[in-house]
C-alpha cells in the first residue's frame, strides 16, 4: 500500500492482539507456523474472526465465521467500512491527519448497507455488523489475508478494500495493529525483497527511477532498461503472442501451477528454448531443453531467507548436495561467465554484502548481526538500527508528509459466471500436509495424503446431482474436465465445491481454472471457477 510489499506487523504483535481477522486465509492449514503465533493470542483470550466461503479448519477454530459467496469480498469490506463510519467507530483524528481521499471513499461505501451486503455476500447482516464493531472497537487488531483475497481477477482491489478498513480505524503503523499478507513459504517474502518482481529492483526500489537505476548501473557495470518487466501471467501472454521465445525458470513449476493448465503446457512446449533450474525434475523441467539441478536452500546452501514478518534469517549449509546439483548462486554465476560476464565471488556473504550496499532497507544487516540478533526485520538502515517491528509508524507523526490514500473500490464479480450449464462454484486451496503443485510434498507416501484427490462437495449437491459420497465424477468447466472421486463435506454449503492443487499428475485441477488475471498483480482467478458435475457410472 505504501510502496513496499510486506506485512506491516510482527508475530510478537500477533501474539498480543485482542482481535485477529483472517480474511480469505486458511492459515491453520496453509500457514501453520503463523497459526501457532495466532493460537497464542487466542489462548490469551483474543477473538478470532474468519471470513471464508468454506468453513475451513481455521474457520472451525474461530469465534465467528462469515461464509461469504466467492468473490464478494469488496461488498463485505465496504459494508464493514460503512458500518464503522455510521457507528462512530472510525478514528477520524487519524483519518484527518494521516490519510487522503476519505470523502470520496465514504461516498463510495454509502450503498453498502448491511442489508445490501447480506443480499450480495450471503452473510447475515448481524454477522457483518459484529465484524465491523469488533474491528472498530479492538485495541490491537491484526487483519490478515492470503490467496482468498489475491487469487482473483481484481486481487489488488480486494487488498485495497482491506487496507481501507485499517486506515479508517487507525489500525496500522502502531504497535499491536497491522495488516498482514501471509506468505506461503519460508522465503516468498525474500524473493520479492531481492527484486524477483517485474517492477522493482532489490529492496523495493522503483525501476523507473533514474537515480535508482544509476546506482545499480554503477555497481553492476550494466545498463538497466527503464521499463517494467513481465509478471508470470504477462509472460504467458507474451508467449502466446510470440514475443517471448526463451524462458529460464528457477524453482517454479508453471506447467502445473498456472490456471488453465492445458494452455500453459502448450505455450511452454512451443518455446524455442526452455531452461529449468530446480531441485526436482518437475513437470516443467520435463519439458525443458536444459535442466540445471540445484542444491536445496535448506541444508545444502548458505544464504538468507525472509519470513512473513520481514525477518531476514540465516540458513546454513549442513551437507553437500547430491550428484551434480550445485548452489543456485554458482549456477547463475557460471552461466554469466559463459555469457562473458564475471559477477564476482560466489560466496553467499559476499553476494549479501553487495545487496546491502544497494538496498537501504537491508543496509544494516551484516551476517554477524543477523546471527547475533537471531534475524532482523527490515527496514534496517545501518549497523546501529535494531530493525523494525512494524512498518509505517510515520503515519502517527504529528505531521504526515506522505499521506496514505483511501482507494475507492467497486464490486466486480468473478469472471467465470455461474449459469445452468455450469451451476456450481469451485474454489481451490491448500491442505496442511502439501505445498502447491506437490513438487516438494507429493513425492513421499503419507496417510495425510488420503482423500487428497477428491473434489469436496456439500451433501445437498451430491443428492441434487446424483453423486454418491465416494463416487466417481467428471468435473467440467468451460476450459476442460478432470475425473476424480467425490467426497461429501459438511463444511461446504450447497453450491460450493472445493479442490486442492497438490496432485496435478493425478488430478489436474488447473485444467479447470480460468486465467482471468488481475492486470496489476498478475495473479489469476484460481478461487472462482464455474463447473458442473457428471456422475461416472
Amino acid at each position: 500500500m505504501f510502496g513496499a510489499g510486506g506485512g506491516t506487523s510482527s508475530y510478537e504483535e500477533t501474539r498480543a492482539a485482542d482481535l485477529i481477522v483472517l480474511w480469505g486465509s486458511n492459515a491453520r492449514e496453509a500457514h501453520p507456523i503463523f497459526f501457532h503465533h495466532l493460537l497464542k493470542a487466542v489462548n490469551n483470550g483474543a477473538k478470532l474472526i474468519v471470513v471464508d466461503p468454506r468453513r475451513t479448519p481455521s474457520a472451525q477454530w474461530a469465534d465467528l465465521w462469515l461464509g461469504l459467496d466467492v468473490g464478494t469480498d469488496i461488498p463485505l469490506a465496504n459494508a464493514v467500512a460503512r458500518e464503522i463510519i455510521e457507528a462512530g467507530l472510525a478514528d477520524m483524528e487519524f483519518v484527518g491527519r494521516a490519510t487522503s481521499g476519505f470523502e470520496a471513499f465514504r461516498e463510495s461505501v454509502q450503498p453498502w448497507t448491511l442489508d445490501e451486503a447480506e443480499r450480495v455476500t450471503g452473510v447475515p447482516a448481524e454477522a457483518i455488523r459484529e465484524l465491523a464493531h469488533s474491528y472498530g472497537e479492538a485495541t490491537h487488531a491484526q487483519l490478515c489475508w492470503t490467496l482468498g483475497i489475491t487469487e482473483h481477477h481484481n486481487a489488488v482491489d480486494n487488498v485495497f478494500a482491506l487496507i481501507n478498513l485499517a486506515l479508517l480505524t487507525g489500525k496500522v503503523g502502531k504497535w499491536g495493529s497491522g495488516l498482514q499478507p501471509l506468505r506461503g513459504q519460508n522465503n516468498v517474502q525474500g524473493g520479492g525483497d531481492m527484486g524477483a518482481i517485474p517492477n522493482r529492483l532489490p529492496g523495493f526500489q522503483e525501476i523507473l527511477d533514474d537515480a535508482v537505476r544509476a546506482k545499480f548501473d554503477a555497481a553492476w557495470g550494466s545498463s538497466i532498461p527503464p521499463k517494467h518487466g513481465l509478471h508470470l501471467s504477462g509472460m504467458f501472454e507474451a508467449m502466446e503472442h510470440g514475443d517471448l521465445r526463451a524462458v529460464y525458470v528457477v524453482g517454479e513449476n508453471p506447467a502445473q501451477g498456472e490456471a488453465d493448465q492445458a494452455r500453459a503446457e502448450r505455450l511452454l512446449q512451443g518455446l524455442d528454448h526452455l531452461v529449468v533450474q530446480d531441485i526436482f525434475l518437475t513437470r516443467t523441467a520435463q519439458l525443458a531443453d536444459v535442466v540445471l539441478p540445484a542444491a536445496a536452500t535448506l541444508g545444502e546452501a548458505e544464504g538468507t531467507v525472509t519470513s512473513s514478518e520481514r525477518r531476514v534469517q540465516r540458513v546454513r549449509k549442513a551437507y553437500d548436495a547430491p550428484g551434480d546439483a550445485r548452489d543456485d548462486i554458482e549456477i547463475v554465476y557460471e552461466l554469466a561467465r559463459h555469457l562473458g560476464h564475471d559477477l564476482g565471488s560466489t560466496k553467499a556473504e559476499d553476494v549479501w554484502n553487495e545487496l546491502r550496499s544497494l538496498s537501504p532497507i537491508h543496509a544494516g544487516m551484516s551476517y554477524a548481526r543477523l546471527e547475533e540478533l537471531g534475524g532482523i526485520q527490515w527496514p534496517c538502515r545501518d549497523e546501529s538500527d535494531p530493525g523494525s517491528l512494524f512498518l509505517h509508524g510515520r503515519l502517527w507523526d504529528d505531521v504526515v508528509e506522505d499521506r496514505a490514500p483511501f482507494q475507492v473500490v467497486e464490486h466486480d464479480p468473478p469472471v467465470d459466471t455461474l449459469d445452468d450449464d455450469f451451476p456450481l462454484r469451485l474454489t481451490t486451496g491448500r491442505r496442511l500436509e502439501s505445498y502447491n503443485t506437490g513438487v516438494q510434498t507429493g513425492g513421499y507416501s503419507s496417510p495425510l495424503h488420503a482423500g487428497g484427490l477428491d473434489i469436496l462437495l456439500a451433501p445437498e449437491d451430491g443428492a441434487r446431482y446424483g453423486i454418491r459420497d465416494g463416487g466417481r465424477v467428471r468435473v467440467v468447466s468451460r476450459r476442460g474436465s478432470v475425473e476424480t472421486s467425490a467426497r461429501y463435506d459438511k463444511n461446504l454449503r450447497a453450491g460450493l465445491a472445493f479442490m486442492n492443487l497438490h496432485f496435478p499428475d493425478e488430478v489436474a485441477t488447473n485444467v479447470l481454472t480460468i486465467d482471468a488475471t488481475d492486470p496489476k498483480s498478475g495473479t489469476a482467478e484460481f478461487k472462482a471457477t464455474a463447473i458442473r458435475l457428471e456422475a461416472i457410472a
Binding site: 491453520r28 492449514e29 487466542v42 478470532l48 468453513r55 479448519p57 474457520a59 472451525q60 477454530w61 474461530a62 469465534d63 465467528l64 465465521w65 462469515l66 461464509g67 461469504l68 450471503g122 452473510v123 447475515p124 454477522a127 496442511l432 496417510p447 488420503a450 482423500g451 456439500a458 451433501p459 445437498e460 459438511k490 463444511n491 454449503r493 450447497a494
Partner: protein, 529 residues
C-alpha cells in the same frame, strides 16, 4: 479437530443422541455463520461416558463425534479416553462385571469369574467381597454387589454420622439451619469460625480448612470455584460414599456454606464412577435443596490419581488426569485457572456443625475392614487409641494393621495403642490418611497384600513424571523377585533408593507415597526380609 482426518467413522444414531444429550444438538449444515466454542472441552469425559453407557464402549465413531463437537483433536481425545480404566476403546458386551480384588476384598476371598474384569478397590470394603456390574443400553445402570450396606456398626457418640444413625431420609431435604445461620453471620464471620475450629482437611493432607477458605476469599480474580473432592479411591476407603449415600443433604448444605463464605459462583462435586447410588442420591439432593450456588455433579471414570486435587481439575477440564506442578496452588490457580477451594466430603460435612456451634467435638471417620467382626464406618474423637477402635470393630489377634490405605503404613500388634490424631500419627511416622484401617488377622497373608499394593501403584501411576512411572515398576519387580525366591541380593537397597527417589522427586502425592506401605511392611513388619 477435523483437519486431522483420521477418524472417518460415524457414530450410530444412539451414540449421537447420547453425546448430544451432554453437549447439545448439532446445528444444521449450510449456514453462513458459525461460532466456535472452545470453552466446552470440559464436557469431553461426560460425553465419552454417555456414549459408553449407551453401547458399552467408546467406538471410533463416538470418539470422533465427541471430538468434533467439542473441538478436541481426536488424538488428544484418545489420550483422555485411554487414561481412564473404566472407559473402553475396545469392543465389549453391554454388561460388564468388575470384581474387586483389592486389599479388603482379597482378605475376604475375592475371585474373578470368567469374563469378569478384576478391579481396584470399589469402595465397598465393609461388604467385601464386592463387585460392580455396569449395564449399557437405553436405560443404563450400575449395580453394586452386594446391593446394600449393613447398618452403621456404631450408634452412639456420633456427630457427622448422627443423622444417618437416626435413620434420616436421604431423599428428603431437612431444614438447612446451618446455611441460614451462615447467611446471618456473613461470609467473613463464617471463615473466622472455620479458622478458629480445629478442622483439618480429611482427604489425607490435613491442611487447615479455614486458611484455605480465607486465601480463596481474598483472591481478586473471579470467578472462584468450589470443588468437592469425592473421588475417594484409596484402597480401603468408603467414608465419603456412606456420607453421600446416606446423608447427601449434609454435603449439599456444606457446599452452600463454603461457596457463600469464599465467594464461589459455581461448585463441582467430583464423585468416582464406582458409586452409582451416591450419584443418584447426591443429584437428588442438589435438585431439591436450594443452597444458593450452582452445583454440578461430575463423575470420574476410574483413576486413583484423580483424587489428587490438580489431577481432578485436569479431569473436570477434559484432559488426562495428570497432576499439575505446584505452586501455583489451587487457591490461586485452580479449576479453569481460577482461584479454587477444594475440600474433601468429610471435611465439608464438618462445616455445618462448626457454623451451628452445637457440637464442638473434633471427630474423625474411620473405614474399618479386613479381619474384623463388625466392619464398617466408625466415628471417633481424635486422639482415641487405635486399639479402642479395633475393639469396637471386633478385631481379635491382629497380626498387622494397615493404617491410611495403600499410601499409608503397616503397624505391628505392639503399636496398636497409637492415638488416632494427626500429631500422634506424625510423631510415629505414619499417617491417618483417609481413615483407612484394614486389619490382618492371624491367618492373613501379608506378602500378597504387599505385592498388591505395589501392583496398584504401578497400575495407577499416571506416567507423567519419571520417578513414579519407572519407580513403581521397579518396586513391583523387586518385590516379586523377593517373594518368588529369585532375589539377586540388592533388592532391599534398590527398594530403599526407590523409596527415597519417589518421595523426593515425584510431583504429586501418588508417587511420593507409593513406597510407604511397602517400606513399612519390610522394615516395620519384617515381611520379605
Amino acid at each position: 479437530m477435523p483437519d486431522l482426518k483420521l477418524l472417518e467413522a460415524e457414530p450410530s444414531e444412539a451414540e449421537r443422541a447420547a453425546i448430544d444429550a451432554v453437549v447439545g444438538a448439532e446445528a444444521a449444515n449450510g449456514g453462513r455463520v458459525a461460532r466456535s466454542d472452545r470453552t466446552r472441552r470440559h464436557l469431553l469425559l461426560p460425553a465419552l461416558r454417555a456414549a459408553q453407557r449407551r453401547v458399552g464402549w467408546v467406538t471410533p465413531g463416538a470418539l470422533g463425534y465427541a471430538s468434533r463437537r467439542l473441538e478436541v483433536p481426536p488424538a488428544d481425545a484418545y489420550g483422555v479416553a485411554t487414561f481412564y480404566a473404566l472407559i473402553s476403546l475396545e469392543e465389549r458386551p453391554p454388561e460388564v462385571l468388575h470384581v474387586c480384588t483389592d486389599l479388603s476384598c482379597a482378605l475376604a476371598g475375592a475371585s474373578v469369574p470368567p469374563g469378569a474384569h478384576p478391579s481396584p478397590c470399589l469402595g465397598l470394603c465393609e461388604r467385601a467381597p464386592a463387585a460392580l456390574r455396569t449395564v449399557a443400553g437405553p436405560e443404563p445402570r450400575e449395580e453394586q454387589i452386594p446391593p446394600s450396606s449393613p447398618p452403621l456398626p456404631q450408634t452412639t457418640g456420633l456427630k457427622l454420622l448422627r443423622r444417618i444413625a437416626e435413620g434420616a431420609d436421604p431423599e428428603s431435604p431437612p431444614e438447612l439451619r446451618a446455611l441460614d445461620r451462615a447467611r446471618v453471620l456473613g461470609a467473613q464471620r463464617v471463615i473466622e469460625l472455620v479458622k478458629a475450629s480445629p478442622l483439618l482437611g480429611r482427604g489425607g493432607a490435613a491442611f487447615p480448612t479455614g486458611l484455605k477458605w480465607e486465601a480463596v476469599a481474598r483472591q481478586p480474580v473471579k470467578p472462584h470455584y468450589l470443588v468437592c473432592n469425592a473421588d475417594e479411591s484409596e484402597p480401603g476407603t468408603f467414608k465419603d460414599r456412606v456420607l453421600m449415600e446416606q446423608d447427601p443433604f449434609a454435603l449439599v448444605e456444606a457446599i452452600g456454606i463454603a461457596a457463600y463464605a469464599t465467594g464461589c459462583e459455581k461448585a463441582f462435586v467430583y464423585v468416582r464412577a464406582e458409586y452409582p447410588l451416591a450419584h443418584e442420591r447426591l443429584q437428588n439432593a442438589i435438585d431439591r435443596a436450594d443452597v444458593g450456588v450452582e452445583i454440578e455433579l461430575r463423575i470420574g471414570a476410574g483413576a486413583y490419581v484423580c483424587g489428587e486435587e490438580t489431577a481432578l481439575f485436569q479431569s473436570i477440564e477434559g484432559y488426562r488426569g495428570e497432576p499439575r506442578n505446584k505452586p501455583p496452588f489451587p487457591v490461586e490457580v485452580g479449576l479453569f485457572g481460577k482461584p479454587t477451594v477444594v475440600n474433601n466430603v468429610e471435611t465439608l460435612v464438618n462445616v455445618p456443625h462448626i457454623v451451628l456451634g452445637e457440637d464442638a467435638r473434633d471427630t474423625r471417620l474411620f473405614c474399618v475392614s479386613g479381619n474384623v467382626a463388625r466392619p464398617g464406618l466408625y466415628e471417633l474423637e481424635l486422639g482415641t487409641p487405635l486399639g479402642e477402635l479395633l475393639e469396637l470393630a471386633g478385631a481379635e489377634r491382629a497380626k498387622a494393621v494397615l493404617l491410611g490405605g495403600a499410601a499409608g503404613s503397616f503397624l505391628r500388634p505392639d503399636q496398636l495403642d497409637l492415638p488416632l490424631s494427626f500429631d500422634a500419627a506424625r510423631s510415629a511416622g505414619v499417617t491417618l490418611g483417609s481413615g483407612v484401617v484394614i486389619v490382618y488377622g492371624e491367618d492373613a497373608e501379608l506378602v500378597p497384600a504387599v505385592l498388591r499394593i505395589a501392583e496398584f501403584f504401578r497400575d495407577e501411576s499416571c506416567g507423567q513424571c519419571v520417578p513414579c512411572r519407572v519407580g513403581t515398576v521397579r518396586q513391583e519387580e523387586a518385590l516379586h523377585r523377593l517373594a518368588s525366591g529369585k532375589a539377586n541380593g540388592n533388592e532391599l537397597a534398590v527398594l530403599a533408593d526407590l523409596t527415597q527417589v519417589m518421595r523426593d522427586a515425584s510431583i504429586c502425592g501418588l508417587g511420593q507415597t507409593a513406597a510407604n506401605a511397602v517400606d513399612s511392611a519390610i522394615h516395620n513388619l519384617g515381611v520379605l526380609q
